[in-house]
């Protein structure tokens, strides 16, 4: 029988319903795996007591035949979601000791549907990063990192970021699924790096209430799972209108799993010519081509499309996101919660607290953001970036007159090693080149594992869709998943 930790969420639900095992057993199997795999540093905080209590409650419901949509499924929660009574850090020193007295809407909905919380997952500090190396709690190591015969890492690979803990935990079988957030690719790029599925829903699909904000106009929560079907199941619980978030949209949430029919005949798949960027490895190009062939074989029609403003997306993103972040992070001032480093007066206390509390990448983005909003620079940077953003959104609107979904690579490379690209923030920012446009345009985007690099590392393909058409995105992702066939386990997983 498959190890409990290796089950998909769908299979685990079936096993629980069939009383093959209990939710407590399923949870305990994960807690044991977590204890044995601490070297990955995937979790910042483990919550075994909470988990076992939730699991026991789930078992009670199964016993009465009153199980819920995700009942008894052990999940990891990115430590950007505020969880009531459980330390929430955003992987930042500045939130030291912060225990929210409230539960985020997304986790509330997951728990409403019976999900079990195993713990809080590591991430880049305030979700700022593409490699999960900026966490105050140390970098997350990808379960794809190779080891020598003595069991020592020969190379520590990044899991991607910012949802690196979520990606590593799901890939390493330390959770059946995990929540992520995606501001510029933070769900999709790590999903691609570790060979799992991740979907960033349309902006407004999931409530942002109770999620520590990075860039409010871009942030969106989504599931990270091992299969498209699991993503569909989990997204259905996470999504939905929330009157506490003015930017959430009051639309019905479809049964996403029901959309996974495999039938994409007649669907037009846009292939944006601008995504053939300079220096893209041939294997990425090859994978992309393979994806096109799979979809064609399934009856879809590839259509070449143009997204002419693509090249401006990354610069625009790295103005808009830091601008919003510089303002969103002003509340971490040592006055009401988290870290306080005293000073001789209020100003010095602010300076000491923020100097010690924020890491280098966060400080860099606060400074960039402060700069682009400053008097005399606002028009040249922030306003211009917003105009670019509007053009990029128009590009997609026009493209969707010709196609139903868009297929691209998720990231321009496979995972790299910890310590690589560290000295050049721009090289690091390039990781997001294919994912950022969807955030700027607010569109849904999915990364699905599609193959391996020459080094044997996972590579993902990205499916973008129309606003609120996650169902079609998932359906297409499912077809790619089926065509790609079973993918190998990470070397650290047995």
């Amino acid at each position: 029988m498959t190890k409990l930790t290796h089950l998909t969420m769908a299979d685990a639900l079936a096993g629980l319903a069939a009383k093959e095992f209990t939710a407590v057993e399923l949870t305990q199997a994960h807690l044991d795996a977590m204890a044995a795999t601490k070297e990955l540093n995937a979790y910042i905080v483990e919550t075994p007591d909470v988990a076992l209590k939730q699991a026991a409650d789930a078992d009670a419901r199964y016993a009465k035949g009153e199980q819920r949509a995700l009942d008894g499924l052990p999940l990891g929660i990115k430590d950007l979601f505020c969880t009531e009574g459980v330390q929430t850090t955003a992987a930042s020193h500045i939130l030291d000791g912060f225990v929210p007295p409230y539960e985020s809407t997304v986790t509330t909905q997951l728990f409403r549907d019976g999900a079990v919380m195993l713990g809080k997952l590591n991430l880049d500090e305030f979700a700022m990063g593409s490699a999960n190396i900026t966490s105050h709690y140390g970098p997350v190591i990808s379960p794809w990192s190779p080891k020598d015969e003595a069991g020592n890492f020969t190379r520590k690979l990044v899991p991607g970021g910012s949802s690196g803990g979520s990606a590593a935990a799901v890939a390493a079988r330390l959770a059946l699924g995990a929540t992520g957030t995606d501001t510029g690719g933070s769900i999709r790029q790590p999903a691609s790096f570790v060979g799992i599925v991740g979907i960033k829903p349309t902006y407004g699909r999931c409530s942002r209430w109770g999620i520590v904000a990075f860039a409010s106009s871009l942030d969106q929560a989504g599931p990270m799972t091992r299969t498209v079907k699991d993503a569909a199941l989990m997204l259905r619980s996470m999504a939905g209108y929330d009157p506490k978030d003015s930017t959430s949209i009051d639309l019905p949430v479809p049964d996403y799993a029901a959309a996974l029919t495999g039938d994409i005949r007649g669907l037009r798949v846009g292939i944006p010519k601008e995504y053939r960027v300079d220096g893209m490895p041939a294997e990425i190009e090859k994978l992309w081509q393979q994806g096109i062939e799979w979809l064609k074989a399934a009856g879809a029609t590839p259509v070449e499309i143009s997204l002419p403003h693509t090249k401006y997306a990354l610069p625009a993103y790295y103005i808009v996101a830091p601008a919003e972040a510089s303002s969103n992070l002003a509340r971490y001032d040592g006055v009401r919660f988290g870290l306080r480093v005293e000073g001789k007066d209020l100003k010095e206390m602010y300076e000491n607290t923020r100097a010690e509390g924020f890491g280098a990448e966060v400080k860099r983005r606060i400074m960039i953001g402060t700069y682009v909003l400053s008097a005399g620079y606002y028009d040249a940077y922030y306003l211009k970036a917003q105009k670019v953003r509007a053009r990029i959104a128009e590009d997609f609107t026009k493209a969707y007159e010709q196609c139903d979904v868009i297929l691209t690579p998720t990231a321009p490379s496979a995972a790299f090693g910890i310590g690589e690209k560290m000295d050049d923030p721009i090289a690091m920012y390039l990781n997001d080149v294919f994912t950022v446009p969807a955030n700027l345009a607010g569109l849904p985007g999915l990364s699905v594992p599609a193959g391996l690099s020459s080094e044997g590392l996972p590579l993902g393909l990205q499916v973008l869709g129309r606003p609120f058409d996650e169902a079609t995105v998932l359906k297409v992702g499912h077809v790619i998943e089926q065509a790609a066939g079973p993918q190998p386990l990470p070397p650290l997983v047995s």
């Binding site: 955003a90 506490k244 930017t247 006055v335 009401r336 209020l346 606002y378």
Partner: protein
Amino acid sequence: MAKTMAYRIAGETGEWEVVIGLEVHAQVVSNAKLFSGAATAFGAAPNSQVSFVDAGFPGMLPVINEVCVEQAVRTGLGLKAQINLRSVFDRKNYFYADLPSGYQISQFQQPIVGHGTIVLDLADGSTREVGITRLHLEMDAGKSLHDQNPTKTYIDLNRSGVALMEIVSEPDMRTPEEAAAYLRKLRTILRYLGTCDGNMEEGSMRCDINVSVRKPGEKYGTRTETKNVNSIRYVQQAIEYEAHRQVQVIEDGGVVVQETRLWDPNKGETRSMRSKEEAHDYRYFPDPDLLPLELDAAWVEDIKRTLPELPDEKKARFMADYKLPVYDAGVLVAERSRADFYEEVARGRDPKMAANFVIGDLLGALNKTGADIDSSPISAAALGGLIDLIADNTISGRIAKEVFADMLETGKPAAQIVEEKGLRQVTDTGAIDQAIAAVMAANADKVAEFRSGKDKLFGFFVGQVMKATQGKANPALVNEILTAKLKG
């Protein structure tokens, strides 16, 4: 336009004109805050009305309170201003301990209300129009309490997030009195609309003053902004002080520095707070947590239909319908409850007499005790009852004053006082005949003088007769009979 003498500051180099613009922060009357459900009552225990949104906790999001939007629109309509169907909330970024999120949510480039007008009622009865530049919605900050501990500052976040309307005038005022009239009129309008209680002492209406000076006819001088002046009297004083200070600076060969100043009510002076160079760069940008505020034109029309009659219209109606002089109408409409009171008194009665009693007697008496008309010991109906006794000749106007004083003290109805004290007017011609005969007998010499042409003595006889009847004789009858008798 005003007929008043131009207000000028006499300097060594000639006369200076003062240019004044006001920014008023008016707290919106609403049960909940602008972006959270926390309560807004004044005087609650510190930090007892604070939601996690107001305290800037991680992951908290603002949600606009529709009531506050409605109040802003109502105010805009009351100021005859343009209502912008699309407005945008921006973040104004600065660090301060009583600003939990590190930014204030305000409206910068696209306010909810655009250009409007206020008509000032000046002391001489003339009026003057002052332009409203804009009105926007914003959240208040919390309060820093520096006097609770020798080394610490305490923070009270009850006010954090409370809805304010910032109402900005054009630099249209030229005298401290106009500024005072502007504030009074604005307060009156806000109170009529029920959108702000206008209470400056409790801080629900606060004023920043922009002042500059110039030689008449020249272009505007450099202005200073004096912050948070919390009474109309202080506003006038601060303007006077600041205008004189600026004239002095210029005439001493200096230049006025564009800066923010603070009013010190104890010393009666303004002090520099921060210069333009030290001014914050607020880094305004649209708040990504809030969608642009889109109003439905029909909704605005609905609000317009529910607007009360406003003071200017009411004043015009009082002058037209009740034939009141401009002064009386102005006094009566200054408060909505006062106008309502008056109208109840005047209904079916002599409107001028009603106005005289309300303004001259009642308001004068209330003024002495500091009470307002809502807590008047004499109700409108009771005052009307008194006037009715004059109208039906039960008492004379003179006796009425006495009855009024008694009503004020005892709260008894006029008719009861008249009965109990036997103040009913004497209309019995026999009794009046008798009194007149007695007076004429006692003053035979004066009768002779009168008859020889000294007409002025008529008043003397009236007085004597009234005195003899303790003022109760019907004056008209006294006049009539006395005339007949004296001519004899």
